[in-house]
């Protein structure tokens, strides 16, 4: 255990020093990795630990992004103050979806599909209602001051992403070692058995999806502040949902470090394959090839490591 702790500390130290040593471009990539890991972790709480696979997690991301952006742009709020409200909104939507779908007894693919449908409903609504400015999207005015949640030097946004990622890891760790986590895993492995053990399955699932929604919404605000523009397909597009699920599953769902490892691996593969096309002159006009390689790598990882990349670090196979 202490070896793991040491390893974690060393990794944290490396992550802290990293942006001081590398060029801006790599700081930006590092930021993306940590941010995607954070989003992945929010998915992991519900999808990994509790086994409630969602295909529409982006709905929380989008609600967070739109809540803080509307408060900021339309009502002149400070984005830092809007941030917790965005999380509350994401949590509320998580709670609503959970209550509705778990009350109806949805599990497995059925739950996954209903989340997808909710994301789609929100996307269409964001495209149609006036207060989101519909398809025009919302632009946040560039005003690069820290008190305005915008940073001139990209190193700060990196550290913010690092903080988010560390917090998400701590949350996952707390859950994994606590009773809440044990109950979630029991629900994942066998819902009926969990109920027989006296676990309030419905309440636990609602709790975890609410938490997951709030976390993911925090990511939405972060995204909006980093890129300063959102529109319905950025905020509620299926791409982001897939990304969260992908990094977590590739890394290892239901493990603390799965999302982080998955995010690092997939970002590196994506950057490397994309970089390939600009380095090798013969590949210059065959850019799609980089994504072909990316897809093949994804299939191979799954084929070789059925437990995800975390399977590399584990001696015993997981009981699944």
């Amino acid at each position: 255990m202490s070896r793991t702790a040491l390893l974690c500390l060393a990794a944290l130290a490396a992550a802290l020093v990293y942006p001081l040593l590398v060029p801006n471009y790599l700081v930006n990539i590092g930021m993306l990795m940590l941010f995607t890991a954070f989003l992945g972790q929010s998915w992991n709480l519900a999808g990994g630990y509790a086994g409630q696979t969602s295909f529409g997690h982006v709905v929380f991301f989008g609600v967070g992004a739109y809540t803080s952006t509307i408060l900021q742009v339309t009502y002149g709020w400070n984005p830092w103050l809007a941030w917790p409200i965005a999380m509350l909104a994401g949590g509320a939507v998580g709670w609503m979806i959970a209550v509705l779908s778990f009350r109806a007894g949805l599990r497995g693919s059925y739950f996954a599909l209903i989340t997808l449908a909710f994301a789609e409903v929100f996307r269409i609504l964001a495209n149609s209602v006036p207060f989101t400015r519909g398809g025009l999207g919302m632009l946040i005015k560039a005003d690069q001051r820290p008190e305005n949640f915008q940073f001139k030097d990209s190193i700060w946004i990196y550290y913010l992403a690092l903080a988010l990622c560390v917090i998400s890891l701590l949350i996952a760790w707390q859950i994994a070692r606590g009773r809440f986590g044990a109950r979630l895993v029991a629900i994942r492995e066998n819902e009926d058995a969990a109920r027989a053990l006296g676990i309030d399955v419905f309440a636990e699932k609602v709790k975890v999806l609410t938490l997951s929604g709030a976390m993911c919404a925090a990511g939405g605000t972060f995204y909006a502040q980093k890129y300063l523009y959102i529109d319905p397909s950025i905020a509620f597009g299926v791409d982001k949902s897939v990304e969260m699920l992908l990094v977590t599953m590739v890394g290892g769902a239901g493990t603390i470090f799965g999302p982080l490892i998955g995010s690092v691996a997939l970002t590196v593969i994506n950057e490397a394959t994309r970089g390939l096309a600009s380095v090798v002159p013969a590949l210059k006009n065959v850019q799609p090839l980089s994504l072909v390689v990316y897809g093949v790598m994804l299939v191979l990882i799954v084929a070789r490591l059925p437990d995800g990349l975390m399977g590399l670090f584990r001696r015993r196979p997981r009981h699944a």
Partner: protein, 290 residues
């Protein structure tokens, strides 16, 4: 706008649009019903079949309707091989891995298509594209009437095959009880591959029926996937009759939603139906188990 003539025409339009949705959904529901997986590569494989139809027409001058048996056979073979060679082999029998693998395959297929076929929009200009039947306020284009009739016919044939043939019975046995089927000597892996192949063959048929009135680009298949999921859920996962009825209901909903709420907001009807069905009757209209 609320003229009954227009509503009637809208309903007819919706029915015809539903015809092709049915075929896409039938493939999906079969794969789900038997393998219990959600096939993320569905849209990409539909696109591939559409390119097959396009190139047969462009290079050899084969009419899409003439190409129907050929494309169906090819799609079946491709699906079977894909399951045998990649999906079944690499998934280690775990559903979440199949999900990732079909996702990875979808990325590969989309970009291979982009690499070889380019990104521009391809269409087929058949001589009968402009023909139509006029019923009241409705102008029903001939290709859409054909696709409607053909998809009904194909569904019926598939239904018969599933109930009458030995393979069909074996598929249904595997879908109901995997372990039991294995115990009575059914080669479950082979049944999986065949089911996947049939699912993709349905896409081949859908591609032939779509191309006279639609277009193909490396990403054009995805437009049909969400709607196909909705139909599958509406009809009950694994149910053919459900998929057929669901397809028409969704087609009509889309048409009327578009008429009354506007084309953009009207799409919300599909998602709302989807959510309501899941919440109120998760087994769908014709499904047997939750």
């Amino acid at each position: 706008m609320f003229d009954p003539q227009i509503i009637f025409a809208g309903v007819l339009n919706g029915l015809l649009a539903g015809g092709v949705y049915v075929l896409v959904a039938v493939g999906l529901t079969l794969i789900y019903g038997v393998l219990h997986i959600i096939n993320f590569a569905h849209g990409s494989l539909l696109m591939l079949a559409m390119y097959a139809v396009f190139w047969l027409w462009r290079l050899l001058g084969v009419d899409p309707y003439v190409a129907l048996p050929l494309v169906i056979a090819g799609a079946f073979g491709f699906g079977w091989l894909l399951y045998r060679g990649v999906i079944g082999r690499f998934s280690h029998g775990r559903d979440e891995n199949i999900l990732l693998i079909t996702l990875g395959l979808s990325i590969v297929i989309d970009n291979v298509a982009l690499l070889f076929f380019g990104g521009d929009t391809q269409t087929i200009d058949v001589p009968y594209a402009g023909l139509f039947v006029e019923i009241g306020a409705a102008f029903l284009p001939l290709p859409k009437i054909v696709s409607f009739a053909a998809s009904l016919l194909l569904c019926a044939v598939l239904g018969l095959y599933m109930t009458r043939s030995d393979t069909g019975k074996a598929i249904r046995a595997v879908a109901k009880e995997r372990q039991g089927a294995r115990l009575v000597g059914i080669d479950v892996d082979n049944i999986f591959a065949i089911s996947y192949g049939i699912g993709i063959a349905c896409l081949g048929a859908a591609a032939c029926l779509l191309m006279p009135s639609y277009y193909v680009t490396p990403t054009s298949g995805h437009a049909f996937v969400l709607v196909a999921f909705t139909i599958v859920v509406l009809g009950g996962m694994g149910s053919f009759i459900g998929a057929a009825v669901g397809g028409f209901i969704i087609g009509i909903t889309e048409a009327l939603g578009g008429l009354f709420l506007g084309e953009q907001l009207g799409q919300i009807g599909i998602s709302l139906i989807f959510i309501l069905i899941l919440l109120l009757k998760p087994t769908g209209l014709f499904g047997s188990r939750a």
